[in-house]
């Protein structure tokens, strides 16, 4: 089906000139085409026509399916064509001639399409001549892309070619359709007299009473004949690359034996044949029978045999083919070619895109805090199997000789020696001593892994690039793979039995690349948002938290011991001056952390940052009574108890992040190593455990809990009572029952929250769960409260427990009970134990969680796969553009500023955290005696610096960055001015006692010297420059992972109130799916309408009335059928009071118009007339055409009239007034954004919708792009996930850059990408391949998928650059005369 165009240009010389070997040839492109019967015969080595496989001597039968010309059938044989053996022979094709042609199932639909558009008589296209010429011109346009071309061809085939009389031969064509396996030409509906003629002719015959069937079967022979007569130009119109007769099979290419191996079983008694071979043998049988029948003069059975052959051949290609007659369906389904290719286990996804590899290991993991974060401990057993080929050189010969001597069994050994001639020597079976002595430079020894080797470490599911990182090997005893717990986060690993994989790169290049790109140290931050990912967890946090408590003091011995814990006793440590000198020398735990960050004076690390911890009391900064304000100044911990915010992952200004940004990755890594060692050893001595007394509530707690629960129950009872009485105050947009539910849920949730708060306050500080929750290592206040005080409300589907019985949840409760306990409130704690009903409710909630996670993993996995496939080939180029593999520009400047999301320091993706930098500069460059600058001087310097920087560097800074810098300096100067004025220093200086003192104080408080400012600006600009994204970065894949990975973490919360209760918006995975799919119909479309007059509720109500649909039934006081003796009519009376109260502008006149526009009534109104009696009354008079139907008609009318929409937008479900801050806006549930925008009172310019397709249709593609970005951002943010906006921009740009909103689905991706191989490896494998060969597509191997499939390095990342070298010899110029004597 495909032949490869190998780039080869060879000239023939009589004497071969010397040509330097350019290495292996590269496949430039793949051309897909069709093969005709003669081509198959030509390329085949042997004709296959005999059935059977082996003869009695177990030799393959000649001309049978295992003919040795097609390759050796098993290990013993040799190939009769190339004389190769089982391993060397690549295999050769045979051919099988079919007695009669059959359809190729893969092309069936395409054949039908061709038949539909050609005349079945003259085989010309069913277009008028001028149309044909025009379309041909369009089709031949060289600028036309493949996609447009196939769309045009489809348009021609389906729409333009009408089954009518052929303009050339006047033959009237009928419909062509596929019935089962055969193609029918239906001419029965044509009225041209032929059928009448035919039936009249037949009616003269006696026996045929049956009606004439004017439906012809277009059998393969007829189709082949038609196709042969087709003109080439017509083929071109249908985007057919080659002659259409190639679509019909006359011969079968029998595939080479190596792809369908034959295996002897039962000790060689029987052979087990491949499915393909088995199917071919049935085809041979069917073919033989058919051939025999054809020679038989009585051809009656012929058709049945032909059909059988057709079915067999169809199943040979696709065994799942539809339309097989029931009696021919075989019980043993053989795998056809299509089945071999498609699906997860198929050739494309199972063998070409993902391959099995050698040099891998997998085992259980366990933690080891004594390892560096860059290390992984490998069991000796594993190290003896995984090898690295090391070339013998002057430097390692002694080591390798020892390895060879040790052999495969003893640890630092070797398994093989590879000699320069390519031969391999296994060291198990040969004399190792001699081999070691004979070891020479240039030999390659496959030695065991040793300490320091580079290995790749991975845990599935590999959701982001940090799921596979490169570590340094550390060979150790025992059987598990071990690593520092700090690296758990990127892998998302724990040690409850997880297993992980290990790969050993085999070349020096691979090692270097692995170390540089995938090394743990180079992946401390996630490119998702620049937060640190490798950071302390669990125990490390707990022990740091306890060490830095304000009342931990150590004497000299203890403090020195703890200092020695940090390293391996090799580091120099300067002991700080003790905090308390007298009465006894005491050091605090915080000083220990100062030592940890900067152990000695030689270490030039000056950390400066502030962090708010969880327990910060929201005021008084460092003086926080809970010690929650962490302040590091010049590597000294001044205040604050360290917890997750400082040391943990998922933050941007914690200790490790700051180390990483201000210094380098190595500084952060070593600090993590030290912390891991210190805390593991400290907590080992200190001990940290949890017991029953940790969850026993005290007297006070019990009392408090009881009081809270009673309070809550009383509140609920009150609500229920007022509901029963009917005087419950309704929430906007809710009915009474909904309001009751919402309020009760609120009250009950509050119980849990307050009990949690009480727990946190009342528990002793030594309570282990409390410590863990405070420092952020594990658990939340809710978890503690559930163990100690109260489990709280159980929810199923976001509501309280549903009714499993009639009007009640369980039979333990009275009917229609709305009590907390009857609806799943668990008042007990896990310690006190749950009652039977409580337990049941708890399992209901628990089950929902389990089901949700099980379902969600599949959903998100598929979503990630689609995202990756769509975005995989996007990369940054040297001109800062984001392009796809074929060079199409997706973004002109990545993320609008060309910054790397992994390197962003500030919140919400701004490049720098200016506040922290300013603090650092002021702390690290002391002012000394220098005077502070005045604000005007400051601004002058800043602007000069920025201007100079713009001129010097290539791109300069983005405007946004400049603005943020200026704004920042503005706020700082404002503070300085404020200080000065507070100290009465400014212009209005009134001769204070000693102004110099005050000036100095002011400078100390908030001044900045010129040197400090200079340094600050230098750091800002140089660091900004270093944050640019690098060319070659596979930003598409990174973006896809950054959006796909958080999807897996989205928890149960799928609904969320958009400001107003009961106005739900879909969230979580379902919503992300909707956005990414580009769904036309979304589950909760909401239009947010900003009001022109947003301060007034009344005007909001008026607008609401205009938007919300009002039916006649709602505003009519009465609708009566009035019958008098003369006439019958319907009289409608409007409820004008109600209409006025609701500010609706409805009168009898407008109602008349509305009634007339109602689609159902419109048709009836031909006979009726509407009369407006006065402002509030209408009369509908039916026409007196048919008196008998009158009564019936009136009643139908009466029934439909209440549904007539008299006001508002019909597609709007409802509208709710929402108060946001002090402004009112309108939330409109439903579609038709255009109508909402046009409603008087609505500010159309600010109206938003969450329906992307609708936004595209009303406002255009740019608005849709913006909408995609904001919707993804909103959804992610409401799950507490921050993702750099650049990723979402890229996704939105990809979805919109073709000018329409393309979903990341198989249909959208088809329109984005051209590569056949890429699409085939995604979904619908066979369809893409068959279409490609039909259209003669040419796949340039450019994209990621194609390159992987072909085994070619891709043009992304380090592959973006190539070395271009001039191999031409430089021309030598001789100056002066030629020498006389040479």
């Amino acid at each position: 089906m495909c032949d490869m165009a190998v780039a080869q240009d060879q000239l023939q010389f009589t004497k071969e000139p010397f040509i330097e070997d350019v290495g292996p040839h590269r496949i430039k492109s793949i051309q897909f085409s069709t093969f005709s019967g003669s081509e198959i015969r030509k390329s085949a080595e042997v004709q296959v026509w005999k059935s059977g496989y082996y003869d009695s001597t177990r030799k393959p039968i000649e001309n049978a399916l295992l003919d040795p010309h097609m390759g050796p059938a098993n290990k013993g044989g040799t190939c009769a064509t190339c004389h190769g053996n089982f391993t060397t022979c690549p295999g050769h094709f045979g051919y099988l001639n079919l007695a009669l042609p059959v359809f190729n199932v893969g092309y069936t639909n395409l054949i039908v399409d061709i038949l539909k558009s050609i005349c079945k008589s003259c085989a010309r296209i069913l277009l008028r001549e001028n149309d044909r010429v025009e379309f041909l011109k369009k089709m031949r346009n060289p600028k036309l892309e493949v996609l447009q071309k196939s769309a045009l061809a489809k348009d021609i085939a389906t729409k333009k070619c009408k089954p009518t009389a052929c303009s050339r031969c006047r033959y009237v064509n009928g419909m062509v359709k596929k019935v089962g396996m055969s193609i029918m030409h239906d001419r029965s509906k044509i009225v041209d007299g032929t059928s009448e003629e035919c039936s009249s002719a037949i009616s003269h015959k006696k026996e045929s009473k049956a009606s004439v069937n004017n439906v012809h079967v277009l059998n393969p022979v007829r189709v082949l004949a038609l196709f042969k007569r087709m003109v080439d130009e017509d083929c071109e119109l249908l985007y057919l690359n080659e002659r259409p007769e190639k679509l019909i099979m006359t011969d079968i290419a029998v595939p080479p034996i190596p792809i369908r191996p034959s295996v002897f079983t039962d000790g060689g008694a029987r052979s087990n044949e491949n499915d393909i071979t088995a199917r071919l043998s049935t085809i041979i049988r069917a073919n033989a029978i058919l051939r025999q029948e054809l020679e038989n003069p009585d051809k009656s059975k012929c058709l049945a045999d032909w059909e059988l052959l057709q079915v067999e051949v169809a199943q040979y290609i696709n065994s799942d083919v539809r339309g097989i007659p029931f009696n021919m369906q075989s019980s043993t389904p053989y795998r056809g070619f299509v089945q071999r290719l498609k699906g997860k286990q198929g050739r494309f996804r199972g063998n070409l895109s993902g391959k099995r590899v050698e040099y891998t290991g997998r085992t259980v993991i366990s933690p080891d805090p004594n390892l560096k974060i860059t290390e992984v401990a490998i069991p000796i057993l594993m190290a003896q199997v995984l090898t690295y080929p090391e070339r013998v050189s002057h430097h390692n010969i002694e080591k390798l000789k020892q390895c060879v001597r040790n052999g495969p069994q003893k640890y630092p050994g070797a398994n093989f020696i590879r000699y320069p001639d390519g031969s391999l020597r296994h060291l198990r079976y040969s004399s190792r001593k001699r081999a070691a002595d004979e070891l020479k430079y240039g030999y390659i020894v496959e030695r065991h892994l040793e300490d320091g080797d580079v290995v790749l470490f991975n845990r599935q599911p590999s959701l982001h690039r940090m799921s596979i990182m490169s570590h340094r090997a550390r060979v150790m005893p025992w059987r598990t793979l071990r690593f520092n717990e700090s690296v758990c986060n990127p892998y998302n690993a724990d040690f409850d039995g997880d297993e992980m994989n290990l790969h050993v790169p085999q070349t020096q290049e691979a090692r270097t690349e692995a170390l540089m790109l995938m090394g743990v140290e180079n992946n401390l931050c996630t490119p998702k948002n620049g937060e640190i990912l490798v950071a302390s967890t669990q125990d490390f946090l707990t022990s740091s938290f306890l060490i830095t408590r304000k009342d931990t003091f150590y004497d000299r011995a203890a403090f020195s011991l703890l200092c020695s814990y940090m390293g391996d006793g090799m580091d120099h440590i300067d002991l700080p001056t003790p905090t308390i000198i007298k009465p006894i020398e005491l050091w605090t735990g915080k000083q220990l952390f100062s030592v940890l960050v900067r152990p000695n004076a030689q270490m030039r690390v000056f950390l400066n940052f502030t962090v708010l911890e969880k327990n910060y009391s929201k005021s008084s900064e460092t003086m926080c009574p809970n010690d929650g304000f962490v302040y590091f100044r010049n590597s000294e911990l001044l205040s604050g108890q360290l917890g997750k915010a400082t040391l943990g992952n998922g933050n941007k200004d914690g200790l490790f992040s700051v180390l990483l940004r201000d210094y380098n990755t190595h500084a952060a890594a070593t600090c993590m190593n030290r912390l891991a060692k210190l805390s593991a050893r400290w907590i080992g001595n200190h001990g940290f455990s949890i017991g029953i007394d940790d969850v026993q509530p005290g007297y006070l707690l019990n009392k408090q809990k009881k009081a809270r629960i009673d309070e809550g129950y009383d509140a609920c009872d009150e609500l229920i009572q007022s509901f029963n009485k009917g005087n419950l105050k309704l929430q906007p947009g809710c009915d009474a029952a909904q309001t009751l539910e919402a309020e009760i849920t609120g009250v009950l949730n509050k119980i849990r929250e307050t009990t949690a708060k009480v727990c946190m306050e009342e528990l002793h500080w030594r309570n282990s769960p409390l410590i863990m929750s405070q420092c952020g290592s594990k658990g939340s206040p809710i978890n503690i409260s559930q163990m100690i005080a109260c489990v709280g409300q159980q929810s199923v589907g976001g509501r309280r427990a549903p009714n499993g019985f009639i009007d009640r949840s369980l039979p333990h409760f009275p009917r229609k009970s709305k009590m907390p306990a009857a609806k799943g409130f668990v008042a007990n704690s896990f310690y006190t134990g749950l009652t039977a009903t409580e337990f049941f409710f708890h399992t209901m909630g628990g089950r929902e969680g389990l089901v949700d996670t099980a379902v969600k993993t599949a959903d998100t996995g598929y979503m990630s796969r689609r995202l990756i496939k769509a975005l995989e080939d996007l990369s940054i180029h040297y001109d800062d553009t984001v392009r796809s593999a074929s060079g199409g520009v997706v973004q002109f400047l990545y993320g609008d500023d060309g910054m790397d999301p992994a390197k962003m320091e500030g919140k919400s993706g701004v490049p720098l955290n200016l506040e922290r930098l300013y603090l650092k500069v002021k702390a690290t460059c002391p002012a000394r005696a220098q005077a502070s600058l005045s604000p005007s001087e400051v601004f002058k310097i800043v602007e000069e610096k920025l201007a100079r920087h713009d001129a010097a560097s290539a791109g300069g800074c983005s405007d946004a960055f400049k603005k943020s810098l200026l704004d920042f300096m503005c706020t700082k100067m404002k503070a300085f001015r404020h200080t000065k004025s507070a100290l009465q220093l400014d212009e209005e200086y009134i001769g204070n006692a000693n102004p110099n003192i005050l000036v100095k104080v002011a400078a100390n408080i908030s001044g900045i010297t010129s040197q400090q400012l200079q340094v600050f600006l230098d750091i800002c600009t140089s660091r900004y420059d270093s944050k640019r994204i690098e060319a070659g970065m596979a930003i598409g894949a990174v973006g896809a992972q950054s959006i796909g990975e958080p999807g897996t973490q989205m928890t149960l919360k799928t609904f969320h109130f958009a400001g107003v209760a009961s106005m739900n918006v879909t969230l979580g995975v379902p919503r992300i799916k909707e956005i990414i799919n580009g769904a036309k119909k979304i589950s909760t479309p909401i239009i947010t309408a900003i009001l022109e007059c947003h301060s007034d509720v009344k005007s909001a109500r008026i607008v609401k009335g205009c938007v919300e649909k009002t039916t006649l039934g709602e505003v009519a006081k009465s609708m009566k059928i009035v019958m008098t003796s003369r006439q019958a009519s319907i009289v409608i009376t409007l409820d004008m009071e109600g209409i006025h109260a609701l500010h609706l502008k409805i009168s009898a006149y407008s109602v008349k118009q509305s009634i007339l526009q109602h689609s159902k009534i419109k048709s009836m109104m031909k006979h009726h007339s509407i009369e407006v009696l006065d402002d509030r009354k209408l009369r509908i008079l039916p026409s007196d055409s048919d008196k008998r139907k009158l009564q019936f008609e009136l009643h139908t009318l009466r029934a439909t009239l209440p549904n007539v929409i008299v006001k508002g937008i019909p597609t709007v479900e409802r509208a709710v007034i929402n108060k946001e801050g002090k402004k009112y806006n309108l939330l409109v549930e439903g579609t038709d954004m255009r109508a909402v925008m046009g409603t008087p009172g609505v500010d159309g310019c600010q109206t938003k919708s969450n329906n992307i397709i609708e936004v595209k249709e009303t406002l255009g593609i740019e608005a849709a792009r913006k909408c995609i970005i904001s919707e993804i951002q909103y959804t992610m943010a409401s799950h507490g996930m921050s993702i750099d906006i650049r990723h979402m921009m890229l996704l939105a740009d990809l979805m919109t850059y073709k000018g329409e909103v393309l979903g990341i689905t198989r249909f959208g991706i088809q329109k984005m990408k051209e590569s056949v191989l890429m699409l085939a490896s995604f979904e619908k494998t066979a369809d893409h391949l068959f279409n490609a060969s039909f259209n003669g597509r040419d796949d340039k191997i450019e994209g990621v998928s194609e390159c992987i499939i072909m085994g070619i390095p891709m043009q992304i990342g380090t592959g973006i650059l190539k070395v271009k070298q001039s191999v031409k010899q430089e021309l030598k110029l001789n100056y002066g005369l030629d020498p006389i004597i040479s």
């Binding site: 308390i580 009465p583 006894i584 915080k590 460092t622 100290l983 002011a1002």
Partner: protein, 145 residues
Amino acid sequence: MVELLFEDIFTLIRIDPDGKKFDKVSRIEAQSEQFDMYMQLDVNSEIYPLQVGEKFAMVLAPTLNLDGTPDTGFYTQGQRKSLADKFEYVMHGKLYKLSEEGSGINVKVEIYASFGGLLMMLKGDPSNAAKFELDQRLFLLMRKV
């Protein structure tokens, strides 16, 4: 002679204004007599217990050496005479922040220092802050009177 940065006698007003949070450390509030300075200070109550109403002398000094030579940061062996001899409780730390509060006549300067996590906040007239510098090493010496 060592030049003291600040010297005054304080009266203890309150202990643990926000409730007792730590076993061994109490936050005390005190008011000085001479300069009318307000102070918050974390004190190790286990080794130096204090009661409300007690009066104590508090001195801030840049060094403990009696001759005024700067502090080296190294431990000096042997019992040399030092400023600490006259005091009962001595802490060592660092001044990390100066800020102002209020404006006009009522303006007050706040001086913040951290003694290995035990914090001090001294609030008073700006003129008292003249000798203080950011990142200055401080010795806090206390003696009950």
